[in-house]
């Protein structure tokens, strides 16, 4: 009997001293099960140039004067030419322009032919992607006999932002090497622009 009394009494005192607290449910938010999946994806750096318009640039008419003081020499009124090329880069990029001088037929250079020239130099600029003052440009540098020397000009420019724009290739400042008498024949040069993703 005393054993049965002792335990309930102790429990009773405990029950009296401690306040009765209802069992609390966890906050609703803690009951929510949640999982997240992080997805990673990549857009690669990419540049693209479209087709030039026009695809070729030709000097209209004869390159040399056919009369007057400069007869036989490069005309001074050759108009600048432009070629439009659409392009884009989706990140930082470098636009580079390079050019080869217009060269005509070869000839045997000697004391009697040293007044002739087979090279026409020019300036090629890539306008539109940068301010004109910082447009990449190259001035070809060939001798009258057609030897190609190092060109001049800052031919590459960094474009820090993604860009989509028409690149306008501007050709001007045509000049025969040593202002010589142009050798008869056809002349051709090349201009190359390059868009590189950085």
């Amino acid at each position: 009997m005393s054993k049965h009394l002792a335990i309930p009494f102790a429990l009773l005192l405990t029950a009296l001293v401690q306040p009765v607290v209802a069992q609390e449910l966890p906050p609703e938010d803690t009951l929510i099960a949640r999982q997240s999946i992080t997805l990673g994806a990549t857009t690669p750096a990419l540049c693209k140039l479209g087709e030039g318009n026009p695809t070729t640039a030709a000097i209209t008419g004869a390159m040399s004067d056919i009369s007057g003081e400069r007869i036989g020499r490069l005309r001074t009124n050759i108009a600048a030419m432009t070629i439009a090329v659409p392009g884009w880069c989706n990140g930082p990029s470098t636009l580079t322009v390079s050019a080869q001088p217009m060269l005509g037929p070869s000839f045997v250079d000697g004391p009697t032919t040293n007044v002739f020239s087979r090279a026409v130099n020019f300036r090629a600029r890539a306008l539109g992607w940068t301010p004109e003052s910082t447009a990449p440009e190259m001035l070809t540098n060939a001798t009258r006999t057609g030897t190609v020397l190092l060109p001049t000009g800052v031919s590459a420019r960094l474009i820090p932002l993604p860009t989509e724009e028409i690149i306008t290739i501007n050709l001007d400042n045509f000049a025969a090497a040593s202002d010589g008498l142009l050798v008869q024949g056809s002349y051709a040069g090349t201009v190359t622009i390059t868009l590189g993703a950085n």
């Binding site: 429990l11 009773l12 009296l16 990673g40 857009t43 990419l46 990140g91 932002l161 993604p162």
Partner: protein, 273 residues
């Protein structure tokens, strides 16, 4: 020397304790015979429980001890050869509650999509990218279970964003939005939700995943009707937006800025009875 306040407090407390002690003794005596019979037959755990009942009796003034027969039905008796004798008392209905619970597990929480987001024109390669997203999500190994009868699935996603903002850069898009649906199947029914409605959640879903780590969640492309069947470039300044698809501003024909993009797909299961 007791203060007046002490006399006012101590006196009633002592009187209360004395009264409770008398009540305890009276009720214990009333129930002792019955208690002893149960205690002899039941396990120690049962005996302790009987003592708890006794305490309850002291507190309530009523002997709530069950009859020996009902006690035997609750507590295992040590020997079946000891048949229950006649008893007096009141039956107690013991009830319990299993709250609704849900759990989700993943085998891999980070998934890198191995294909390029864009095509040769620098624009989102919608079909290929959508397919890669679904594959990546299913490779995460999402499984789960819910014990309630009215659970809710809430599937959300943030757009793919380059860095911390998705606003266009020099005309190029820096965010892409997509939609996915998730489904968990039971033998009799499938429950699903989609991202296109933002964090609105699904219709009530019943129990699923009764054993092991639960049932597989399966991701699929949405069927349309407001959901994107393939990713689109968007203009967003909020990389963490989980809003509905219709609330985003789409960029038509925009190319994507180069770089690494990330998105988060989150599934919540909210348990409900």
């Amino acid at each position: 020397m007791a203060t007046p306040l002490g006399r006012h407090v101590v006196g009633p407390v002592v009187a209360l304790l004395f009264r409770l002690l008398m009540l305890e003794i009276t009720l214990t005596h009333r129930c002792t015979k019955h208690t002893a019979r149960i205690s002899r037959r039941a396990d120690p755990v049962a005996s302790a429980t009987v003592h708890a009942w006794l305490m309850l009796a002291a507190m309530t003034g009523v002997c709530l001890l069950p009859s020996l027969a009902s006690a035997q039905s609750i507590f295992p008796v040590r020997s079946s050869a000891r048949a229950a004798g006649p008893g007096v008392g009141t039956n107690i209905t013991v009830t319990g509650r299993v709250d609704a619970r849900c759990k989700l597990t993943l085998t891999s929480a980070v998934q890198n999509i191995p294909v390029s987001m864009i095509n040769d024109e620098g624009r989102l390669d919608g079909p290929a990218f959508q397919s890669a997203i679904i594959t990546a999500l299913n490779q995460a190994g999402l499984r789960g279970w819910c014990s309630g009868a009215n659970n809710q699935l809430v599937l959300t996603r943030t757009p793919f964003v380059l860095g911390t903002t998705g606003t266009p850069l020099n005309g190029f898009a820096r965010a892409a939005l997509f939609d996915v649906s998730v489904t968990v199947a039971t033998p009799s029914q499938a429950y699903s939700d989609t991202t296109q409605d933002g964090p609105s959640g699904s219709s009530p879903a019943g129990t699923f995943g009764p054993t092991g780590s639960g049932a597989d969640f399966s991701f699929t492309a949405p069927s349309g009707s407001g959901g994107l069947t393939q990713p689109v470039a968007i203009n967003t300044s909020d990389a963490n937006s989980t809003a509905a698809t219709a609330s985003f501003t789409r960029l038509s024909n925009s190319r994507m800025v180069a770089g690494g993009y990330s998105s988060t797909v989150t599934l919540e299961v909210r348990p409900g009875l």
